[in-house]
Amino acid sequence: MKRFVYINDDESSQELYCDNRISNRKYTVLNFLPKNLWEQFSRFMNQYFLLIACLQLWSLITPVNPASTWGPLIFIFAVSASKEAWDDYNRYLSDKKANEKHIWVVRQGIRKHIQAQDIHVGNIVWLRENDEVPCDLVLIGTSDTQGLCYVETAALDGETDLKTRVIPSACMGMDFELLHKIKGVIECPNPDKDIRRFDANLRLFPPFIDNDLCPLTIKNTLLQSCYLRNTEWACGVAVYTGNETKLGMSRGIPEPKLTAMDAMIDKLTGAIFVFQIVVVMVLGIAGNVWKDTEARKQWYVLYPIEGPWYELLVIPLRFELLCSIMIPISIKVSLDLVKSLYAKFIDWDSEMIDQDTGIPSHATNTAISEDLGQVEYILTDKTGTLTENRMIFRRCCISGIFYGNESGDALKDVKLLNAVAGSSPDVVRFLTVMAICNTVIPIKSKTGAILYKAQSQDEDALVNAAARLHMVYVNKNANILEIRFNGSVIQYEVLETLEFTSDRKRMSVVVKDCQNGKIVLLSKGADEAILPYAYAGQQTRALVEAVEQYAQLGLRTLCLAWRELKEDEYQEWSLMFKEASSTLVDREWRIAEVCQRLEHDFEVLGVTAIEDRLQDGVPETIETLRKAGINFWMLTGDKQNTAIQIALSCNFISPEPKGQLLLIDGKTEGEVCRSLERVLLTMRITSSEPKDVAFVVDGWALEIALKHYRKAFTELAILSRTAICCRVTPSQKAQLVELLKSCDYRTLAIGDGGNDVRMIQQADIGVGISGREGLQAARAADYSIGKFRFLKRLILVHGRYSYNRTAFLSQYSFYKSLVICFIQIFFSFISGVSGTSLFNSVSLMAYNVFYTSVPVLVSVLDKDLSEGTVMQHPQILVYCQAGRLLNPSTFAGWFGRSLFHAIVVFVITIHAYAFEKSEMEELSMVALSGCIWLQAFVVALETNS
């Protein structure tokens, strides 16, 4: 379970682990053909076509030239194979480029320039500024005297801000020469794909001092594909190489999503297949009977008295081949082609370009556009999806005094400015927490202005607001923070950072005031994560009121708190923390537990309120889509009041008395159960009334409900058109998607941040907003759009058109094949049920390809209604949602139509010639041209523009 990496040991670990050759290739030159063919033939349709093609090689039974099936079949296979081959070749090229890049590596104590693929585990790798990291490294030295370096992890997680990485304490202070000779062992887990965790230990060998274990975290690593920035050089020990890096392990082909339509088409294909078998059996038996009774009398046919053993099979097999065109080989090609066009139309749409950034919408998954038209549930994130995620500090409440209530902007509130100028101690402490309780990195630009690099938008807003209030966070030099307040510079030493996790819902720093040596714990977090831990006797009512008031306004609140620590208390705790940080199993949980021991008895300083504005057009979009019969669920990590306020302001739920909110809460199983039943009861009663009923549930209650009352909750989910789930974790979001999917609903999940990725991947359709929280969601999603309001166009225009077009195209493909097939079957009744093909191979092929498959492709531009009409009457989407254009009954309609058309063509053809000179070739040409004209007419009639 563990790997031991011996640093700079040239012999031992060479063979144990793979080298750094990256290979993303799926095939090699040798196995390409068999592997690719095997993959293609694992699909039922392809197996069917292959079987037909093989049967056609038997000239006794084939009605047509085998080339008419082999040709298209080989074409289709060649196209998909060459597409695969091309992709694989490109992967090979990019691998090769990465593998042959030259990298400085220490070998036998000397730095050498070698190819990236020759790096072995344990090697020391040297990087310069702006180099790409070739494999996963544990940082051991940087040009920075404090052992810091900055990396850009965009390729890994899509986040564009710079992150700091630090060398482990054991390696602190080593000089350049020493780094060449360093020896030691790193104990780390086997390769995994978690890019947020690295629970390892480092032990250096003598003579390199410091014989205890030194814990390593993800902060001590440089991961493959990151870039070194703002640091002259850095060096590290390779721990994972080649395809075993975190990036390499997390690569994987996501399971292809199948649209409801594809499933329906598959089902219909199956039905046609059954029908075909029935036809073949009936005609085969009839043919054999006719042969034995009638054909023996037809002397000119010269049937032998005794046939070979397989004689009984010959006629059924002939009919099988004759009817094989019932399942058109062209349908797959046509559908793939139009689907990629639908995706292109989304990419091209000039009305879905984000005007701010100029980024167009993009369809990553080209195969599921039809599903957009069939969405029934939209599960949406709040922050950054409905809102802009552009945080602005608006109000605050410091020790019971409200600031910013009049003007709506605390930064302009004279009272606050006066308090700042007067250095009121409460306000100063409040501002200090705002300024330094974070993981923000200040960067001085050339002009002298200070830019903040923050991972969270809230922290960014707080630090900037503090700076506006003259508490400027100037510099971070290793562990020393510099703050300028009213002209004086204050320095703090950061002792520990207790990072934010979504479970703890707060973050803290332990700092030492460099002036007076006091150790202080600074915390900020959600109200329920801070207020219960206030010291006994603090009056928190004003704060609770403030939190509620701000939440009513739809503002995001954070409580700021602080506590002075005694020296020995800190020292004692620090040891525990260190131990927890170096555990290998359950480290996160252990740390949380240890943090809990420090974070109590807070002196709560006040509440900040940050505004996150709604995006443009969100209420209209939600209203339109709700009219279209789509149900909305909001899943947010934010608190209940804020979520409800946002929900109200964006038409998510209607205000009283038209709307009604039902709360599901409770801390214990019993409470949740009662609450759930009550809500369910109300829901059942009101379901007949035209009333907007929505339920609200928080993460805790949801956890219990999903675990113990899944059935009741599922029923609730079906009854309720709207729901707000607050305080939910990423995995709960995914669970809710799963729940709705299990009720056979088509779900669309939309979100913008890393916490939405799981939900996006889980849903039938994942839409990512390429927002400010990085590109993680957009990358994982099937569609990425710039703004929430584009969703309306994506669903109502693109989804609907795609659905309509595919519905027509797929059914038409079957229809046109069935027409020809029925004519063949009718003809067999007048040709002694012997399986004669009326049409020759060339006609059949031309009919299937040139006369029918190609012309019908114009339907990709078909619009039944103009975009404006659809937007005005979104209710029309119901037709797509309920699948009214492609289902067994519409298909039966097309089936009947093909039967009728075949009868008409056949009857006219055989009668037009009377009994005079009705020759096969002529008759077949007349029937064929009849069919072609009919097809042209049907396409013209069925396309709407």
Partner: protein, 357 residues
């Protein structure tokens, strides 16, 4: 470089030309797709709205066009004079009527047979002579495939008899022409007499020119034909090339239906009304084993071809149906008109709103 500049300026709309931002701008704009009516799905389209007026007009026009066409075709078909005489039963002597098969297969029976036909109306020259077979499956798969087009076309492919089984080779030599079709060539012959004067039957140019010139070679002579144990139909003159064996060429164009006519020849003089034509038939072809009928047909032609009422009737039916629908629609339109494009008829507006009328 040049093109780059052009796209930048056009995409930026000729607006801001600040030098510092230009590289950034062009980078951003290059991501934007180029505008075209195709990419925006805005290609011009027209969709006629099916207003009552349009529908009624269309139906009326179709009706008005189709009915005269139907009438004209029907009358043309009526003008064709046709004499059909079934002779398979009548040409068997009464003493063989219980065992027709024995009669036709025996080589000793007299196969001659005389039939008398009377001309109902004046038949203008040319009068076409057909033989009609019934219940004869020339379209049977085993039969249809049993030929070799290559062999028929050229002497060089004489041995191409792959598909011809079971009449491919005889005594280890390829049969020319091979296959069941040629083997079962029709071999009844007719002689026509009016008032004991023999009528000339022109058997030239009864086959398609393209067949004679391209599909049947002038250097291919019948060889080894009908020499096997089983004799099928007619024998061929082995000194005449296949391209001149027009009876064979006609026969080899297989019929699509089990009842079919094939051209036998032409009589190139007028036949007067009420004339009696005596036909001397050499009745050799065996249709008795499968109960097929044999008929002799004399027919004139018109511009529509032979006698065929179907097309006329079909046109009249469709035209009549259209007119009928048009009239119904007019009545419906007058009695119960409905406003066009009234949104209250939409399904989601209809149910809760009660009754719009």
């Amino acid at each position: 470089m040049d093109t780059n500049g052009a796209t930048t300026s056009s995409a930026a709309g000729g607006g801001s030309t600040s030098t510092s931002d230009s590289s950034l701008l062009s980078k951003k704009n290059s991501k934007k797709p180029q505008y075209s009516r195709f990419t925006q799905q805005e290609l011009p389209a027209c969709k006629p709205i099916l207003t009552p007026g349009l529908v009624i007009t269309t139906f009326t026009i179709i009706g008005i066009i189709f009915i005269p066409i139907g009438l004209v075709s029907l009358s043309a078909s009526e003008h064709v004079v046709e004499i059909v005489d079934r002779y398979d039963e009548g040409c068997v002597p009464p003493n063989y009527s219980n065992d027709k098969l024995a009669y036709i297969q025996s080589s000793r029976t007299n196969k001659s047979c005389t039939r008398t036909l009377s001309v109902p109306k004046l038949m203008k020259s040319p009068v076409f002579i057909y033989y009609e077979l019934d219940n004869f499956y020339q379209n049977h798969r085993r039969y249809v495939k049993s030929r070799s087009d290559k062999q028929l076309r050229s002497k060089a492919y004489e041995r191409e008899t792959k598909n011809c089984d079971p009449q491919a080779v005889s005594l280890d030599a390829p049969i020319v022409p091979c296959g069941l079709i040629a083997w079962s060539l029709f071999n009844d012959t007719y002689g026509f007499f009016v008032k004991s004067k023999m009528l000339e039957v022109n058997k030239k140019n009864i086959a398609w020119d393209s067949d004679k010139e391209h599909k049947f070679g002038s250097d291919v002579y019948p060889k080894n034909f009908q020499t096997g144990g089983l004799i099928g139909g007619a024998k061929l003159n082995s000194t005449t090339p296949l391209s001149e064996q027009e009876d064979l060429i006609v026969w080899m164009r297989t019929a699509a239906l089990p009842t079919f006519r094939k051209l036998y020849g032409r009589i190139e003089e007028d036949l007067q009304a009420n004339e009696q034509i005596t036909v001397v038939i050499q009745n050799h072809y065996n249709t008795y084993s499968f109960g097929g009928k044999k008929k002799l047909v004399l027919s004139t032609t018109s511009w529509i071809g032979g006698k065929n009422d179907f097309i006329g009737i079909a046109y009249i039916t469709v035209g009549g149906l259209c007119l009928f629908l048009a009239v119904n629609f007019i009545l419906l339109y007058v009695i119960k008109p409905r406003a066009l494009g009234d949104p209250s008829y939409l399904s989601w507006n209809r149910s809760p709103a009660g009754n719009p009328n």
